[in-house]
């Protein structure tokens, strides 16, 4: 394991999924925003991008 993007992408995606699930189930709103849900999407997106980059680098 040399490419750091792989574990990093996994961790961020994992946190993204947890936050999305928490947001969807509990639906807690702060200042009218379901922050867990939205921030979970951001984390998942960044995590998936890392995983994509790591995979692309490996297949080159």
């Amino acid at each position: 394991m040399t490419d750091l993007r792989l574990p990093l992408g996994l961790l961020l995606s994992f946190y993204g999924v947890i936050l999305i699930a928490t947001g969807a189930i509990q639906g807690t709103r702060v200042l009218g925003i379901n922050v867990n849900l939205w921030w979970g999407f951001v984390l998942l997106l960044v995590g998936a991008a890392m995983l994509y980059l790591a995979r692309r680098a490996r297949s080159l």
């Binding site: 750091l4 928490t22 922050v35 867990n36």
Partner: protein, 556 residues
């Protein structure tokens, strides 16, 4: 604050993850250079983010938010004046000698350039400083977790020490660096929502501007005289003391950060390491200082029906150190709260791991191998490195307990360290750019600078503050301890600079042949003009500088 199982799951998976990285990287440690220098194989972007992260201890996060609440945007000077210029300088001008000389540590560079005694002085003071400061931050973190979450302080200290020890002893510097990058992302993703929610709550930038005095939103406008701004420092002391002496002394000579660049996979990557780090560094005021200013705004004029964020101290003033934790407590629901606490833990561990890896390298190479047991096998030094990690962490834990019992001793130590650190940059500047500088000159300059800092402290006072030690005489009174600190550094640097030159002139210089690769005028220039612009250190440095100037103007 109350943590739910979701929060605990997030925190626990982080702990498992960092240890997992250590386990996965263990097989890549075959030689001592793998353990101490990550085999010089780290790509530029990884080294760059680790360079930044090693400096992002929890005390930095908490302290900068506190400073934001106390002084406002003036705090940005610690970034835009007190970090970026030095990071650009070390990348473009100094890294060729650090990396090109193949030195394995900053003290070893001093040995190559000057002599044994200069290295010994730097290695011993640096090693002592790193273990003590990681102990002090360990105690601070334990105390914070007890206050916020009611966690047992002994458990916090021991568990975090064991985790950091585990991943460093297994995977060495590579493991520390990989984890620092992960910590960087967690810090960003854990704290950005705070700014988002805080700004939304206060009614955007205009809402903030209507609730705090204008001095809190400007970085330069009120710095003409020490009386006009809450920091009590005028522009000259700030630019010279913080921006030049202290900042260059830290970012250009502290092995804690330089080690990350030394581990890079090429000269070009090593030079780009601090420049890549400078890009997020210049944006960090928005995620660490801004929450503090928002906390102040929501305290001076809370929203209808909402309690103020900061609490009053019994002695007057607000409890600024709680700005960041209180903001997290106010806005983060279960889930995000776990992420926020993980970000705090991550920043704590990255700061501590930085100290521990720098300590075990300096101890093993510059003290053990140089003075105690030279000419042993590489496997032996690798073993010593792992053992030193255990010992270093143990001393840090012991220091944490001393700090818990005797706060004054720790304050004293930090004061003495600040005397030793203040003159350092003069030695490196002369050593790298003036070939006539001699070992005797460098050593006597360092001693003179350290003494000058101590003497300055002994003959000046701070208005309305009690002193740690008795004063010989008070010749000058500063409006704030920050002003005293900056001016003390200026005196120390100047003394070191003058004494180094004076002694160098009357002592015998080393022959030019021995100094190739160590001194500017005797080292061939690096030709990088055929690379694309973002791989050229000079071009990258220019972009970073222009952006920093723009930020200063924007918040003038």
């Amino acid at each position: 604050m109350h943590l739910t199982p979701t929060d605990l799951l997030i925190i626990a998976s982080y702990v498992v993850f960092v240890l997992g990285i250590g386990v996965l990287l263990k097989e890549r440690v075959a030689h001592s250079s793998d353990f101490f220098l990550a085999g010089r194989s780290i790509p530029a972007w990884v080294a760059g983010l680790a360079f930044l992260s090693a400096n992002l201890g929890a005390q930095e996060m908490i302290g900068m938010a506190a400073s934001g609440a106390k002084y406002g945007m003036l705090t940005s000077h610690f970034y835009w004046v007190g970090a970026i210029p030095a990071m650009v300088f070390v990348g473009i001008f100094m890294m060729p000698f650090y990396y090109g000389s193949r030195a394995r540590s900053v003290p070893e560079y001093l040995k190559l350039r000057f002599d044994e005694k200069t290295r010994a002085f730097n290695a011993l003071t640096f090693a002592t400083m790193t273990v003590f400061s990681s102990g002090i931050s360990m105690y601070a973190m334990g105390a914070l977790l007890r206050l916020l979450l009611g966690w047992n302080i002994h458990a916090s200290i021991v568990v975090s020490a064991v985790v950091v020890l585990g991943y460093i002893a297994l995977g060495g510097l590579r493991s520390a660096i990989y984890n620092e990058v992960v910590q960087f992302f967690l810090i960003v993703f854990g704290f950005v929502p705070l700014v988002w929610l805080g700004l939304r709550d206060i009614g955007g930038w205009s809402g903030l501007a209507s609730r705090v005095p204008d001095t809190y939103l400007r970085s330069w406008q009120y710095i003409g005289s020490a009386q006009a701004n809450p920091m009590g420092i005028e522009w000259f002391g700030m630019v010279m003391g913080l921006g030049f002496v202290l900042s260059f002394g830290y970012w250009c000579t502290d092995f804690l950060v330089v080690q990350r660049a030394m581990a890079a996979d090429s000269m070009n990557a090593a030079r780009r390491t601090p420049l890549i780090a400078a890009v997020p560094k210049m944006l960090f005021p928005f995620i660490v200082i801004l929450p503090g200013i928002l906390a102040l705004g929501l305290t001076l004029q809370p929203n209808p029906g909402a309690a103020p964020i900061l609490q009053q101290n019994p002695g007057g003033g607000y409890d600024y150190n709680m700005a960041l934790p209180m903001m997290i407590g106010r806005y983060y629901p279960s889930g995000l709260l776990g992420l926020g606490i993980t970000a705090l833990l991550a920043s704590f561990m990255s700061g501590m791991a930085g100290n521990v890896t720098a300590f075990n390298t300096v101890w093993t190479y510059d003290i053990y191998q140089s003075y105690l047991v030279p000419r042993a096998t590489d496997a032996h030094y690798l073993w010593v490195g792992r053992a030193t990690t255990v010992v270093g962490v143990a001393i840090s834990v012991a220091t944490a307990y001393v700090a818990m019992r005797f706060n004054n001793i720790m304050d004293m130590l930090q004061l003495v360290f600040s005397f030793v650190n203040a003159p350092l940059f003069a030695t490196f500047l002369l050593g790298m750019f003036w070939r006539r500088t001699t070992g005797h000159g460098a050593f006597s300059g360092l001693i003179a600078g350290t003494l000058a800092a101590a003497l300055h402290y002994e003959v000046t006072a701070v208005a309305a503050a009690s002193s740690l030690v008795g004063k010989v005489a008070v010749l000058h009174t500063y409006p704030s301890d920050m002003a005293q600190n900056f001016w003390g550094a200026i005196w120390a640097w100047t003394s070191c600079f003058i004494v180094t030159i004076a002694v160098s002139v009357i002592t015998r210089p080393r022959p030019s042949g021995e100094l190739a690769g160590l001194v500017y005028s005797l080292t061939p220039r690096i030709a990088d003009d055929r690379l694309v612009w973002y791989k050229r250190p000079a071009a990258l440095g220019l972009v970073v500088s222009v952006l920093t100037v723009a930020l200063n103007l924007l918040f003038w």
